[in-house]
Symmetry: D2
Subunit: 143 residues, 4 copies
């Protein structure tokens, strides 16, 4: 559960994550069991009222969840996620998703993610259930 | 609860929905309380293993949910959604999201969405809670 | 996935399930992946307005879910459950919970449960995620 | 949002809540947006392995949620709840449910509840969505 594991896992995942890259996400912080990602709401993410499609808010939260639950260099997948939308994301807003581990037992993990806008207002609340499988993000030195 | 309402509501929403359009979604069917949308998994939706980011699967389901719960020409928003991922979406797959109303009482609605791939395999199960507010998608003729 | 497995699993579980027995539940039907249970709303389940505490409605749904997901003679536990309350359960009402398997893959299962009252009105919608572990409800004959 | 409101609302609810009383729950703390309840796992709540039926754990969490979201002397109901079970509740354990408001906007509220056992171990995580309707728990002095 070292910081080095968290950073190397994130780097390996990020290199392959064309989806999160393509949406313009940025990793602000990764520590064991925790990740903070940001994303700006673009023209191609909104409807005619300049309100962000909830799917992109979910996607940002889901990416933060993924980096948090994969921070131990063990392949881990999202199994079940729930999201509550509190306020609209607006065109041009920079959204911040903060994912924090609640508990991890055996192969099962639970993570809470909050999405806020530039003013700190709560946009969405997300809870993700993860499942760890065999495999690593990078080959660890013999320890 | 007419078919005409469902089609005109969908047309008005779709015209403004740059997000769903930009992801290449297509509306296959809209009837009162029901909508079927399709989306092909593109290069910019996958990771290095050509597996679709769960966020895009959610987004497809969320759009189908939105067209279903807005099919009565009353502005309706997603409040809370839960998704379970059963199998990966693959690059090139055409995914189909089928949203069906479970119940609608007053301003609250519940909708189930299933996402399947081209072979009919179950990719994700989604359940959405909606809330109707004041406002219409198009101005109805005096009836 | 035989009917015999479902019935023998249910009988073994029921014999030990003091909780469901104590609440006056009855098993109306068990088949592979499916179970129907009933429960009458008693004085000790309601508040001053004779409205059933949501916890007992959940408990009935959870028991139906348990009998459905354990119908293959493999020990299976509830991991995550979500419930939506649509209408109150009333003192004296007989509630019926119908649990139906949506999908089962490896050790993970998804089950939908609906709870209705005596008039057939929808009281609650429940979705349960199960996880199978090692162990059986009864010792199977050598097959 | 006064402490007096929270306590008087709780007292009025509790006087009518035969269900929570009958399960032996006790209110350890109520403040605006927050409630802590305890319950001992009894013989009539367990199965043959002396493991508490998940329904009773949910019911404890749901009661804590109810006292927290009703602490403003406005009638408020549970709309949607999700629970994740982390570890079994055991016969004789005293479980503690701590409900804390996450956000409250207009008539909608979101509350997180954790259930722990006597040793402080996490038994369940619960998230509840509430909806406020017209009505009060007690008649307020003219203010």
């Amino acid at each position: 559960m070292s910081q080095s594991q968290a950073e190397r896992s994130a780097a390996a995942m990020w290199a392959n994550d064309r989806a999160s890259q393509g949406l313009g996400m940025q990793i602000a912080e990764v520590t064991p069991g925790r990740a903070v990602l940001t994303m700006s709401v673009r023209e191609d993410m909104v409807n005619g009222l300049d309100v962000c499609h909830g799917g992109f808010i979910f996607t940002l939260a889901d990416s933060a969840f993924a980096f948090a639950c994969n921070s131990y260099n063990q392949l881990t997948f999202a199994q079940h996620c729930a999201v509550t939308f509190h306020a609209p994301g607006r065109l041009g807003d920079t959204l911040t998703a903060t994912a924090q581990e609640v508990t991890r037992q055996g192969r099962s993990g639970l993570y809470d993610v909050t999405v806020t806008d530039g003013s700190g207002a709560l946009i969405a609340t997300f809870r993700g259930h993860s499942r760890t499988v065999k495999g690593q993000h990078y080959q660890e030195d013999t320890e």
